[in-house]
């Protein structure tokens, strides 16, 4: 299933070779394969279509330099376009406000609680912050216990209110607690929710309004398929979030959802999760993600062979 793009491009590039200019005829086959590779990587259907159209426009009529053959030029065009789409510069986290309030959001099981712990650990060890973790998931069985275990592992205090089922109250109380106890970062873990669950979307909107966070983060599983655009858009419509967290990138998914989300909400991807342990957090690198989506390492070696 996960044939390298290089396999697919092999034939397509062959048809391009030996031409001095990129023409509609010799570009078509290559773009078909690029589109196919994007779909296999879970890039959204429409976005893949638009992407290949844009590349086509850019490619047509381009003179092929003597150092590059047409295949190499196409690959370069595709890669440049993809990297640009993925976000150019790396964007950090806004640590303004006193305390800085960070709100997590996302679907069920995307990795919010784990990432809350990782981010707390990162800010504590790398930025010497005093962090407070807040358990606002009042639904999932043992959600609060999970956050408490995480907090213990990294030596960060966890604020929770047993018996209180109102996340708006809990988050407000937590911020007051943070102020009173010299904490300068508050990370609020919330329950997973579906974008179509109106009640739950209203709840997170209310939390958001009540606490006015400096950073609202949308946590998304990098294995997500075509639905990524719908979900990201729905969460963004309600929260106008500041950044995206891509989790579970230690797997072998191509992670095309990243491109889909970026295209649809145009918010920076800030961090990636690369494991279950508390130190498995990394800054997002757009160029690496572009490479990953297309399996570019393979493509480049192919072009070198050509």
């Amino acid at each position: 299933m996960f044939n390298n793009l290089s396999d697919k491009l092999d034939k397509a590039l062959h048809t391009l070779k030996g031409h001095g200019k990129i023409t509609e005829v010799n570009v078509a086959e290559t773009l078909k394969e690029v589109r196919r590779a994007l779909l296999d990587a879970d890039v959204n259907f429409k976005i893949a279509k638009d992407f290949t159209k844009r590349v086509q426009t850019k490619a047509l009529g381009q003179d092929v330099l003597t150092t590059l053959n047409p295949g190499q030029l196409m690959v370069k065009l595709v890669k440049d376009e993809l990297t640009e789409l993925m976000g150019g510069e790396t964007v950090g986290i806004n640590l303004g406000g006193s305390p800085t309030v960070i709100l997590m959001s996302g679907l069920q099981g995307s990795g919010k609680t784990t990432f809350s712990g990782k981010l707390a650990n990162y800010l504590k060890t790398k930025k010497t912050k005093q962090v407070l973790l807040v358990g606002c998931d009042v639904y999932r069985p043992a959600a609060i216990n999970q956050l408490q275990v995480v907090g213990e592992q990294i030596g960060v205090e966890v604020y929770a209110e047993v018996g209180n089922n109102n996340p708006v109250e809990i988050s407000k109380n937590a911020i007051a607690h943070a102020k009173a106890n010299g904490k300068n970062v508050v990370i609020i873990d919330t329950a997973g929710r579906l974008a179509v669950d109106e009640e739950m979307m209203t709840e997170i909107s209310n939390i958001h309004k009540a606490i006015e966070p400096q950073e609202t983060l949308f946590v998304v599983d990098s294995m997500t398929g075509q639905d990524a655009v719908n979900t990201a858009k729905a969460f963004n419509d309600i929260l106008n979030f500041d950044g995206v967290i891509l989790t579970k990138l230690d797997g072998d998914t191509r992670g095309g959802a990243a491109l889909s989300i970026k295209s649809v909400v145009d918010k920076p991807i800030k961090f990636i999760g690369t494991g279950e342990k508390m130190d498995a957090i990394d800054i997002f690198h757009p160029d690496r993600m572009a490479d990953r989506i297309l399996g570019m390492g393979d493509v480049i070696s192919l072009v070198e062979r050509a």
């Binding site: 099981g109 069985p141 043992a142 999970q146 974008a195 639905d227 279950e276």
Partner: protein
């Protein structure tokens, strides 16, 4: 919903009375299927089937055409999915060498966060409703509070659970669970396992070990290895199915979170390629939000 009627209208108009489906319609069909995570390969397979069928049975009417479409897609779902199961039952009552009744052992596996533990809670409730005696085994000893989470489900369903400390050997928990189940004369054992990405060799080997250890207590166990797939997962689910099958011989699938907007279409190709039946779908976080899989309804949801 608008695009839905449009789609079938267009399809019918374009196909009725002809021996060939035109490209526009096929593009439309492709879009519906790819957008449901069916994947390019499987989509092309479906399209070929439809083309063949239309070429063979010219002059198909609208209703008939819609039916063909659904049938051809559903046809890719493993033949083992008869589509007529409506109840949560266990397929057999295992016996040991001496003919003594043994518990039916179900091991639940999958990548992180797909819904394994929740599905186990829901299944326990359903099996219990059937009058079966259920025992749960908390063999996810790794994830923070995973054991507490399963304990909450055990309490909710009023079913016994076998657990050890966090960090203990999962194979040892599975072993204890089976021993306890045999002693209690239980009908069904469900073993929860830690989420693991299929490209992590050590963690996959751990599953193989859990299986081996369980066979020391109950012959031929686990009788069912249920791979849970998150319905919003894209093409990576193929690799998941492949690697978990290699490590544990997956015998059935559950697709979760279908109460969202994701369609879970990737299971069509998986079921077709690996011949593994889809048994259950998860449609919520509540105890009753589990259904026996119905392939026609499932395929219909792509066009809604």
């Amino acid at each position: 919903e608008k695009t839905n009627t449009n789609f079938f209208d267009k399809l019918s108009k374009a196909v009725a009375g002809k021996s060939k489906v035109d490209d526009d319609v096929l593009d439309n069909l492709e879009e519906v299927l790819v957008a449901s995570d069916v994947g390019v390969d499987t989509t092309l397979k479906v399209i070929t089937r439809i083309e063949d069928r239309v070429a063979r049975d010219k002059y198909v009417g609208t209703d008939e055409l819609n039916k063909i479409l659904r049938e051809e897609i559903a046809g890719l779902l493993s033949e083992t999915n008869l589509g007529n199961e409506t109840e949560f039952t266990i397929p057999e009552i295992p016996k040991d060498k001496n003919g003594k009744k043994m518990p039916y052992v179900l091991m639940v596996v999958g990548v992180n966060g797909v819904g394994k533990t929740t599905t186990i809670g829901k299944l326990a409730s359903q099996f219990k409703k059937q009058g079966l005696k259920v025992v749960l085994g908390a063999a996810d000893t790794f994830r923070a509070a995973a054991i507490d989470q399963l304990q909450v489900w055990a309490d909710r369903t009023d079913v016994p659970i076998v657990r050890q400390e966090m960090g203990s050997d999962p194979a040892s928990v599975a072993f204890d669970t089976l021993k306890s189940a045999v002693n209690q004369d239980a009908d069904v054992v469900i073993i929860d396992t830690a989420g693991r990405l299929h490209n992590k060799v050590n963690l996959m080997n751990e599953l193989t070990k859990i299986k081996r250890v369980m066979q020391k207590v109950v012959d031929n166990s686990p009788h069912d290895v249920l791979l849970v797939l998150d319905g919003s997962t894209g093409q990576n689910a193929f690799e998941q199915a492949k690697q978990f099958t290699l490590a544990t011989e997956v015998t059935s699938l559950a697709v979760t979170k279908l109460d969202g907007t994701a369609k879970g279409g990737v299971v069509i190709g998986i079921s077709d390629q690996f011949k593994i039946p889809v048994k259950y779908i998860g449609i919520g976080e509540g105890i009753d939000d589990l259904q026996v899989f119905n392939k026609i309804e499932f395929v219909d949801s792509f066009f809604k």
